[in-house]
């Protein structure tokens, strides 16, 4: 399956992406994740100012098939929330990497991101699970 995995982002085993810009970063779920979930009908987001540790559940998405937790790829404080997703959750299906970012965070420890997968490792990881 040709899932999109753009360069310039790092990927988690639980199918989130994180894109670093200085000390702040955007976080969302991957094309593979939205494809597995199918049509997303609901999303629950944190509020600006919330702090989470790496791998903490910070959001929930619900599709016609299942509900799924979304984990934060690195510890940090939420500085901005893409609240538009609550009214337009289908954006996660159509534009998972750009329009449908979930939160912007201040990253506490950038080295936590270096441990994640890059685009080419992640696409192999997706393919290995879909056989």
């Amino acid at each position: 399956m040709p899932w999109k995995t753009p360069e310039g982002r790092m990927y988690t085993q639980t199918d989130e992406w994180i894109m670093l810009d200085g000390r702040s970063a955007l976080v969302g779920i991957t094309d593979y994740a939205q494809d597995q979930l199918s049509d997303i009908v609901y999303v629950e987001l944190p509020t600006s100012g919330d702090s989470f540790d790496k791998n903490d559940i910070f959001a929930t998405v619900e599709s016609v098939k299942a509900a799924a937790d979304v984990n934060l790829p690195a510890s940090g404080k939420v500085t901005e929330v893409n609240n538009g997703l609550e009214d337009e959750p289908e954006l996660i299906n159509t534009d998972p990497y750009d329009g449908a970012w979930f939160v912007k965070i201040d990253v506490q420890d950038i080295s936590q991101i270096e441990d994640l997968m890059n685009a080419s490792t992640y696409i192999d990881y997706c393919n290995s699970r879909s056989s």
Binding site: S38, D39, V41, Y42, E62, V64, K65, A66, A67, P89, E90, S130
Partner: protein
């Protein structure tokens, strides 16, 4: 596509006509007291229909529906077995039917005797020390069980245990009940044979664990091959074992969960013990416990207050366990359902219950053997009472489990459970139960095989299914994104409408 404009039966509000009524009230024989002006309302939107209108409306709705009485219903993990009519006869015996939960216990000794015996039988069937009949359904039983487990640790002065281990194949109610109890869920992965990953379990076990919630056979329909080791690992770190009894129809009369070391388990009377469900009646989720949790059971428990003798039956009454978690439900559970389950057990006896489980397992394996060459089976093992296959093929890329399910409706079958368990791609979970004949199983297998061919040759047939049902395919996405919680007359939706 079905929309609000072409639903086959109007809502009861749309059938309403001002001034119609289904009853004629007698003249009051007490002085009439006017209600205060400030609490009078004219916007309650109550429908106004004759009795015949109402009867025809609900009769029509019932005929649009699929039920176990109208056809095969292989909904995995739900055990949609036949509901024997003798259960209904027993539940309609006047003494049961007309009793009231507030009656003096001396006047309802028969009801209490039935509850006491049912408690005793469920103890014996599950290998438990005591049973409560209070919980109103399976998930309510889970909540009851988790609360007892938590209180067990607290009563020992151990306040550090806040986590419950739950396999990734579990019913969604398990993490929900845990969260409702204020505890944290730790998800356990499954191994490549569909069992709990024992190494992962070992790595998570510690002094912060309340216990493990486990379903056996699990939702893949597979018996946990390392169950004794799993129980021992959790025991060794001081945890308790919760058994989700949803799949007990595979084991009744064969394996007693209490003997495996389970401390708590809920039964689903509406699954294993043949009482109606799925819109047909309330559930009921009695919970059995091991010795260590007896004192924590909900209050009250039915007990013998005075022993009987050759002439007189015992006197039944209620008792409150020493460290009870309190009351989980008003009165004494779903009594009418308890009567039906009691009847089922009484009719079948020990040998009959075992035979039913054996036939449930046989039927599932028969069906599995007929479809496994065409539908991919993720964990290739003999199944118990249900099995899970993948509803997808690489050479039919547009077809999903949902399309197969919708197409099955054209053959007159209720679809299997879809997209669960979550660890299987495009899961179709099929549970035939023991009450289906070989002919029905053959017809269902033939339908599945035909649909697999259609998926390659005529995919449109699947993608546009169902074709013969009263409603065409529903727009699930729109329904979830834009909830219309109807039950208002349609004239209120009209922007031109002016309130009287």
């Amino acid at each position: 596509m079905t929309t609000l404009d072409n639903i086959p039966e109007p809502t009861v509000y749309d059938l309403s006509s001002p001034g119609r009524s289904g009853v004629t009230l007698p003249k009051p024989d007490v002085p009439i007291q006017e209600l205060p002006e400030n609490i009078l309302r004219d916007d309650l939107d109550l429908p106004e229909l004759t009795q015949l209108d109402v009867i025809r409306h609900f009769q029509s709705l019932s005929q649009l529906n699929h039920s176990i009485d109208s056809g095969f219903y292989p909904l995995g993990s739900c055990t949609m077995k036949y509901n024997p009519r003798v259960n209904e006869d027993a539940a309609r015996l006047i003494g049961f039917l007309h009793s009231h939960p507030l009656q003096d216990v001396n006047t309802v000794q028969g009801n209490l005797a039935l509850m006491y015996e049912l408690q005793e039988w469920l103890k014996e069937i599950g290998g438990f020390a005591a049973v409560t009949l209070q919980p109103a359904a399976g998930a309510h039983g889970e909540l009851t069980g988790i609360m007892m487990m938590r209180n067990y640790h607290l009563a020992r002065g151990d306040k550090s245990r806040l986590k419950i281990l739950i396999p990734d194949s579990a019913h969604g109610t398990n993490p929900a009940s845990t969260t409702m109890s204020g505890l944290e869920v730790i998800e356990l992965p499954s191994d490549d044979r569909g069992n709990v990953d024992v190494d992962a379990l070992r790595s998570y076990c510690g002094e912060d664990i309340v216990g493990l919630m486990i379903t056996n056979p699990n939702t893949l329909g597979l018996f946990e091959e390392h169950i004794e080791e799993v129980v021992q690992i959790v025991r060794d770190c001081g945890g308790l074992i919760y058994g989700d009894g949803a799949n007990m129809n595979a084991l009744t009369g064969i394996v007693r969960p209490g003997d495996l070391g389970f401390d708590v388990m809920h039964y689903n009377l509406h699954k294993t013990f043949s009482t109606p469900h799925g819109g047909g009646g309330p559930g009921s989720g009695p919970v059995g416990v091991s010795e260590r949790l007896v004192d924590f059971l909900p209050t009250p428990i039915v007990t013998i207050v005075e022993k009987g003798n050759d002439q007189d039956p015992p006197l039944y009454g209620f008792a409150t366990p020493k460290h009870t978690i309190g009351r989980m439900k008003a009165f004494n559970g779903q009594f009418g359902v308890l009567v039906r389950a009691y009847t089922y057990i009484r009719v079948h006896g020990a040998a009959g219950l075992r035979s039913n489980s054996e036939h449930a397992v046989l039927n599932a394996n028969y069906l599995l053997s007929k479809v496994q060459d065409v539908y991919h089976v993720p964990y290739k093992r003999a199944c118990l009472h249900e099995f899970v296959v993948e509803g997808r093929w690489h050479d039919a890329p547009d077809i999903h489990a949902l399309d197969i399910s919708k197409r099955l409706m054209d053959f007159g079958f209720h679809p299997p459970t879809n997209y669960f368990p979550l660890i299987v791609h495009e899961a179709l979970m099929i549970e035939p139960t023991e009450t289906e004949s070989r002919e029905t199983l053959d017809k269902f297998a033939d339908a599945l095989l035909q649909i697999a061919n259609e998926a390659r040759d005529e995919p449109e047939l699947l993608l546009t299914a169902p074709h013969i049902t009263p409603s065409a395919r529903m727009d699930e996405i729109q329904a979830a994104r834009q909830l219309v919680l109807c039950c208002r007359p349609s004239y209120l939706l009209d922007p031109q409408y002016v309130k009287k």
